[in-house]
């Protein structure tokens, strides 16, 4: 088909209407805006490519070209979604995009030509109906955007300087610290849809405590001197990203402890640096993903997944820890892939054979799948204990 520019823009809007409506329904069901954000990015990428590339480069477009163009747009959409921190999982985003693409093909090749006699010789134009549908798509997108904007939690700015805590965040909000903003004595989150960003927390029992709260985002937080855990999550669902937690000198605390959230949406810990404490990341009875973190100098284990958890532990670096690098225990199921584990020291004070310096341990009916982990400077690479097992992909 030799599409006109009007057709490209109009049909782009027309075919996105159904996915957009679906995204709105999904957003309502999930109480999250990422489906609409994703649909918006898809539309923006498509329109931008139509205007800048396709119309100029493709005076005629054979049917098969839809496939490489679809892949090109997919790459751009996924890249932008990642850049803008759209909170969709990869599989869901791919499914959403794939479904929308397929629908567009069916509409463009079958439904539109059937409903409009001159579809072909009009270069794919849909007449007044097309303009109407396109306008409707824009209205839906604008309305969804307006609702999303209007329902955004308020942004609370934390000025530079020291603020005495503990701060309790008991309603939905974005707490954003200005450079130099410090909270002494900890932060407690008890409301859903809370974001804490660019804040340093010093002291407190827990640096940040999340209780019974979902869709909590802790981003670029720095935690020092907590007496128990750096971040402690109970019955909550969190995304922790780009954090820095020092537990040096803390004998019993964990850098991050997420527990008892198995019935909630998965929590994510990524791109964090954790040093010191008993364990860097402790996941107990959860669905979670820990990826691309750096865990160092812990005294019990680097990363622990236990008590019927399901977790993906990927691309982390664990080094200079005592006893065990990554530990999966108690009926948990762990995917442990592409981690770098080095310098696991045997625990001389323990008579426990598991603690003789293993990179990865599967314990007590746990099932671990491993792939492409790099374990060095450790007495043992992997060990299975108490009816647990490890499989290699």
């Amino acid at each position: 088909m030799a599409y006109t520019l009007r057709v490209r823009l109009e049909s782009r809007l027309a075919v996105v209407l159904t996915p957009l409506l679906g995204a709105c329904v999904l957003a309502l069901a999930l109480k999250a805006w990422w489906p609409v954000e994703l649909a918006g990015i898809m539309l923006a990428v498509g329109l931008a490519f139509d205007l800048t590339l396709y119309h100029k480069l493709l005076p005629y477009q054979p049917g098969w070209v839809a496939l490489p163009l679809g892949l090109l747009e997919l790459a751009a959409v996924m890249g932008l979604a990642r850049l803008l921190n759209v909170g969709a999982t990869l599989a869901v985003a791919l499914a959403f995009y794939g479904g929308a693409w397929l629908l567009a093909q069916v509409l463009g090749h079958a439904v539109f030509p059937l409903t409009r006699l001159s579809y072909g010789d009009d270069g794919g134009e849909l007449g007044r109906a097309g303009a109407g549908v396109a306008a409707t798509a824009l209205v839906v997108l604008a309305a969804a955007g307006a609702v999303a904007w209007a329902t955004q939690p308020p942004v609370v700015r934390l000025a530079a300087g020291v603020h005495e805590g503990p701060l309790t965040l008991d309603y939905s909000q974005k707490l954003v610290g200005e450079p130099g903003a410090v909270v002494r004595g900890g932060i407690v989150v008890t409301a859903d849809d809370v974001t804490v960003r660019d804040v340093t927390v010093i002291g407190g029992e827990h640096g940040i405590q999340v209780e019974l709260a979902e869709r909590v985002l802790l981003e670029r937080v720095t935690i020092r001197g907590a007496t128990l855990d750096g971040i402690n999550v109970r019955r909550g669902q969190v995304t922790i990203r780009d954090c820095s937690i020092s537990m040096l000198g803390n004998e019993y605390g964990q850098g991050i402890d997420i527990s008892f959230t198995a019935d909630l949406a998965p929590s994510v810990v990524e791109d964090c640096e954790l040093i010191g404490g008993q364990e860097g990341i402790f996941l107990d009875s959860v669905h979670a993903m820990a990826r691309e973190n750096l865990v160092r100098r812990t005294t019990l284990r680097g990363i622990t997944v236990t008590e019927m958890s399901m977790a993906e532990v990927e691309e982390n670096t664990v080094e200079d820890v005592v006893g065990i690098g990554i530990y999966c225990s108690d009926y948990s199921m762990c995917d442990i892939r592409e981690n770098s584990i080095r310098g696991v020291l045997p625990d001389r004070a323990s008579s426990d054979s598991m603690r003789e310096g293993y990179g990865i341990v599967s314990h007590y009916w746990a099932h671990v799948e491993v792939e492409d982990n790099n374990i060095s400077r450790s007495p043992y690479e992997m060990g299975e204990f108490a009816e647990a097992y490890i499989t290699h992909d």
Partner: protein, 367 residues
């Protein structure tokens, strides 16, 4: 209701127009089709058989149905229970067989009740009257689609009366030595036919043919290319049409390999003029221009219609501007409609004209 629309010409262009009008809600009783043979493919069938055409140059949407979907590739996929036609179609490689095309045409002929509207007879005179057009003694119609077809086969003047000469579109066999005049699709088909029949072939041509899948660049089939075409002033439009009427046939091994083999064997060569072969096949297409068609010539003369060179001036929607208003429509389809649509002599061209006629009819009905 009756006498809403008349179609002058019962060939493929007329049939495509009829199917579009039927799809648009007109009943058979509201349409009168005037032609010389109730089989809309009668003339085309003879020509296709003469050049032993097996596949269409057109692709999946080269059919007579009013909507482009489902095309012939979808139908072939269903019939053959294979995805291959669809895969070929998305790569612009699907060319239906002549048999598939004709089967679909027959199916459509029955489905649209073509024969109920068909009236045997050649219209010789179209005269504008109040609110419509009078067609010979058949009464007046507010909307008329003229689809008279090609006005006749074109022979090079120097071969007129030469007993060795036969037109490619007339039934013929192949002599041992054949000269094929022309370089378009029919000529290329005849080269292969004659070679396959064991003949030695001389391709007589003054210029090299272009190689393109369809007889015009693809963008000229849709609004994208047409918008620029319609913006051309008359003299440039004439140049454009002349330039794009250069002979062409599709690229591909299917054409090139037999020719190359024959060339190596000394059985195929190119020459600038005929030179004594026992048989001369004139693959020189059709006569051009409204003056070659008695009906159009009279229409232009009686109504003082604007013309440029051999073309009747039409609006972009294929209607005659001086004879079309809210009360009546005179539209052209097929080769005479090139002023509006350069590929007017294709099925796509016939659809283009008839879909726009249908809009006029709908507007007339709801005015």
């Amino acid at each position: 209701m009756s006498n809403v629309c008349a179609i002058v010409g019962g060939g493929l262009a007329g049939f495509v127009g009829y199917a579009a009008l039927r799809k648009g809600g007109l009943e058979p009783a509201e349409i009168a089709v005037f032609g010389t043979d109730p089989d809309p493919a009668a003339a085309w069938r003879v020509r296709a058989a003469a050049i032993r055409q097996r596949r269409m140059r057109s692709e999946s949407d080269g059919h007579c149905a009013p909507t482009s979907f489902p095309g012939l590739a979808v139908r072939a996929a269903l019939r053959r229970r294979s995805l291959v036609p669809l895969a070929e179609s998305v790569c612009d490689r699907f060319h239906p067989t002549v048999e598939e095309f004709l089967d679909h045409l027959e199916h459509l002929r029955t489905k649209t009740s073509w024969d109920e509207s068909f009236r045997l007879g050649r219209i010789k005179h179209v005269r504008a009257v109040e609110g419509g057009f009078e067609l010979d003694e058949h009464g007046s119609f507010p909307h008329v689609l003229l689809a008279p077809g090609h006005p006749g086969l074109a022979f090079p003047a120097e071969l007129a009366g030469d007993p060795r000469a036969v037109h490619a579109y007339e039934p013929h066999e192949y002599a041992d030595e054949v000269e094929v005049v022309g370089a378009g699709m029919a000529a290329a088909t005849e080269w292969l036919n004659a070679i396959a029949a064991g003949s030695s072939v001389v391709s007589v041509r003054r210029r090299e043919p272009e190689r393109r899948p369809l007889n015009l660049p693809r963008e000229l089939f849709t609004r994208r290319g047409l918008a620029a075409y319609h913006d051309l002033p008359p003299d440039e439009r004439v140049l454009f049409l002349r330039r794009h009427s250069a002979p062409s046939y599709p690229p591909g091994r299917w054409w090139d390999e037999p020719l190359e083999r024959a060339r190596r064997d000394g059985r195929f060569r190119v020459a600038p003029a005929v030179n004594g072969a026992g048989q001369i096949i004139c693959a020189t297409g059709f006569k051009r221009g409204f003056r070659s068609d008695a009906l159009l010539r009279k229409l232009v003369a009686e109504h003082g219609l604007d013309t440029v060179d051999g073309w009747i001036v039409l609006t972009p929607d294929s209607t005659v501007p001086a004879l079309t208003d809210a009360e009546r429509t005179l539209a052209l389809a097929g080769a005479p409609a090139q002023w509006s649509y350069p590929a007017a002599d294709t099925l796509m061209g016939a659809k283009y004209a008839s879909r726009r006629l249908l809009r006029k009819v709908h507007a007339w009905r709801t005015r």
